[in-house]
């Protein structure tokens, strides 16, 4: 066990994967010699050579398109999109090709690839370095969608994603790359080293896809969230002084409905929190699932706290990014009815 930041944990996951499976191959913009703009692959090219880890031209659809071809042949590409905001040129290859290859070829070809991308806001990145497009992938049958919130999970989930036989969209909440973030508007992070979940085994281990984690047990209200918002929710729960159960979904697709339903049946109340714009965000699906499965247990309307339905602004970042105060208000209001 060592203390790792999320970046170190991700790097360690790729190190393990490169080391254990010769079919694993990593590429993306600036990931090679330089080791990525967030340094996630730093040192790995020097260790494994250019044939295992290399730079690509700035063409996200080529990055994924090449990966589809390689994966179909049996390699295991783990590619990086520099920011989730730049994944859209690859959207066709991801949704129409990677997601469907196994099905449409009746299993003749499959597509075991991982598309890593830093996601979310809180870093003053403006509208093109802050988006949270997860819901644009959860609508696509054939994909899995993962968002870790701790170094420990980041490593275990990434190894599991690389080993998974199907395409995985792996979204990394960049705001917490270097430490958990509780919503402090000065933007300061606490370092990971102070957090229990930065204890990361050095070798191989997996955190299974499709299983949520209960970050805080509670009796009063269930909060469904993921990524950076896990921490902002922790802060909000303290602020609101309610005994909330915080569920970190970790995998959005397929969803761990069992854990969710058990919790909401217990608490009878539910708040959903995410950074992405509200309308048709993943929160809507969560509300639909909870409503379908727990209707008769619900004692108040499910609330959602989300980014607003506007492009992610630069200067007004903290008015956009869901604050602990907004979450606390939702918790209080969920308790009121």
């Amino acid at each position: 066990m060592t203390r790792m930041t999320m970046i170190e944990a991700l790097r360690s996951a790729m190190d393990v994967a490169l080391n254990t499976d010769p079919n694993v191959i990593i590429f993306g913009e600036d990931v090679g010699y330089f080791g990525g703009v967030f340094r996630c692959t730093a040192g790995l090219q020097a260790k494994y050579g250019e044939e295992r880890l290399f730079d690509t031209p700035i063409n996200e659809s080529a990055i994924v398109g090449l990966a589809v071809g390689m994966a179909a042949q049996g390699m295991k590409p783990c590619v990086e999109i520099q920011f989730a905001d730049y994944v859209f040129p690859a959207y066709d290859q991801i949704t129409q090709e990677a997601a469907r290859l196994r099905h449409r070829s009746n299993g003749q070809f499959s597509c075991p690839l991982v598309v890593r991308m830093p996601t979310g806001g809180g870093i003053f990145g403006g509208q093109t370095h802050s988006q949270s497009p997860e819901a644009l992938f959860t609508h696509v049958a054939g994909l899995k969608v993962v968002i870790p919130s701790t170094p420990h999970d980041a490593k275990g989930l990434l190894i599991a994603a690389i080993e998974d036989p199907d395409p995985v969209i792996f979204m990394e909440p960049k705001r917490i790359y270097n430490g958990p973030f509780y919503g402090d508007h000065s933007g300061k992070s606490v370092p990971w080293s102070d957090h229990a979940d930065s204890e990361v085994p050095e070798g191989h281990y997996t955190v299974p896809l499709g299983k949520a984690a209960i970050r805080r047990s509670g009796a009063d209200v269930t909060v469904l969230t993921y990524g950076t918002m896990v921490y902002v929710t922790e802060a909000a729960v303290k602020e609101a002084g309610v005994d909330a159960e915080i569920i970190d979904l970790r995998t959005l697709l397929p969803l761990d409905l069992e854990t969710i339903v058990a919790s909401v049946e217990k608490t009878g109340r539910c708040v959903v929190v995410h950074e992405a714009t509200r309308t048709s965000g993943f929160g809507a699906e969560l509300m639909a699932e909870v409503q379908e499965a727990c209707f008769w247990h619900l004692r108040s309307p499910i609330q959602r706290v989300t980014g607003w339905d506007a492009p992610y602004p630069h200067a007004q970042e903290w008015d956009y990014f869901p604050s602990s105060a907004r979450i606390a208000r939702a918790l209080t209001s969920a308790m009121e009815d």
Partner: protein, 410 residues
């Protein structure tokens, strides 16, 4: 105020006009040499804007590319002719089946048979084509079982894809045929990725990408050429320029480009333009490019110059947008007729044998068709289980799909 006016490309003729191919320059057969295997793009201009042809107007194989092929055994040519005739028989029967309502959709490759038939016969087991919907020739020349091909047409139990795909969107890994996508272009860059994997494994295999002239406009065409240029994997990138993309004249995809082959030179990829209706030219250039790839000289782009003689598909009626009889006026003729004439000129073939071969192949295709139809057609369906919808979305059935299957009643 200004002289700037937009330009709009037009086809040489429209339905109310006579076919007009006077704008197409047809160089003499045999006029282009065989380039050195390590040729660079810079030196490729004459090959990219010229037209490699082997069969001349007297049906003789002439010039450096004929020499490159060397003595061709009669059997090789007969095999090629039979591949093409078989393809025609299949197209004929399946087009008919669609007209009879036995399947929802069909799409012929008439006029383009030489390209896929010739190319496939130069590949090795383990090489992989990334085809479009108009490369059924590759399957035929790979001896893909007709039962599978037709099973898919009728979406019956013989369908290897269990009804999931359109009748014409085949997938046949063991026959070197990648799963066809309905989204144009996507396969082109995937072919490059597959070829990169071949090189990384060092398994001696190659990949071949296929794209239509219209689809060269797609982003994936660019992604593919760029990636092939950067990483130099063993891939042959084929452009089937059949002059049309549904109702759209090839000029709309070409713009002011000299040729599609010339487009590749800008990426530093050697490229050649070839008479796609000349089976011998197809054999020769395919062999050259495939050997080049396998030997580690990197990608080649081949523009196959041909003509889409049939409608785009059974949903299309070309008389609405192009001159009647354009196919007959196509200056490069018909690939079957030309190979036949060459074989006759060689003394290896005659009209009687040709008629007999045609009849035999049509019989054989019809016989299989009848057998396959007994397993169900659109008129007389024998449904595949609806639960098939959920199989293969993922390797393992996740909980939510299990619930949905249950909700469906399975």
């Amino acid at each position: 105020m200004t002289d700037a006016k937009l330009s709009f490309p037009h086809p040489p003729s429209r339905p109310d006009q006579a076919p007009d191919f006077s704008g197409i320059v047809i160089p003499e057969a045999g006029s282009l040499p065989v380039p050195p295997v390590d040729i660079t793009a810079k030196d490729c201009w004459p090959f990219a804007v010229g037209l490699i042809r082997v069969l001349d107007d007297d049906n003789q194989a002439v010039g450096p590319w004929a020499d490159y092929l060397g003595d061709i055994p009669a059997e090789t040519l007969q095999l090629g002719l039979r591949d093409m005739l078989k393809m025609r028989a299949i197209d004929k029967r399946l087009q008919n089946a669609q007209r009879q309502g036995k399947t929802s959709f069909y799409l012929q490759c008439t006029g383009e048979e030489a390209i896929g038939c010739g190319f496939q016969r130069q590949l090795e087991q383990g090489d992989m084509n990334f085809p479009t919907y108009r490369q059924q020739t590759l399957l035929v020349a790979a001896d893909y079982p007709l039962e599978s091909l037709m099973g898919q047409l009728y979406s019956n139990e013989l369908d290897p894809l269990q009804g999931r795909q359109l009748p014409i969107m085949h997938s046949a890994r063991d026959y070197g045929f990648f799963s066809i996508s309905g989204n144009l272009g996507t396969q082109y860059v995937q072919a490059v990725g597959w070829a990169m994997a071949c090189a990384l494994r060092g398994d001696g295999k190659i990949a071949a990408g296929w794209i239509g002239d219209g689809a060269t406009a797609s982003n994936d065409f660019h992604s593919a050429l760029l990636s092939a240029s950067v990483y130099q994997p063993p891939v042959v990138l084929n452009v089937v320029n059949n002059q049309w993309a549904i109702s759209t004249y090839t000029g709309v995809a070409a713009g002011k480009s000299e040729t599609y082959a010339a487009r590749a030179l800008g990426y530093g990829i050697p490229a050649l333009r070839v008479d796609g209706n000349d089976y011998l030219a197809v054999l020769a250039v395919s062999r050259w490019a495939i050997e080049r790839a396998r030997a580690g000289y990197g990608p080649t782009l081949i523009e196959w110059f041909t003509y889409r003689a049939a409608a785009h598909s059974t949903s299309d009626d070309p008389s609405a947008y192009r001159a009647r009889n354009e196919a007959d006026a196509w200056p490069l003729g018909d690939p079957v007729a030309r190979l036949k004439a060459h074989m006759i000129a060689r003394g290896d073939w005659n009209d009687a044998r040709h008629t007999q071969a045609e009849a035999e192949l049509l019989d054989k295709v019809s016989e299989v068709q009848k057998r396959v139809e007994a397993h169900g057609t659109f008129v007389n369906p024998k449904p595949i289980s609806p639960a098939e919808i959920f199989r293969g979305v993922y390797a393992d059935l996740p909980e939510h799909l299990r619930r949905q299957r249950q909700e469906m009643g399975y």
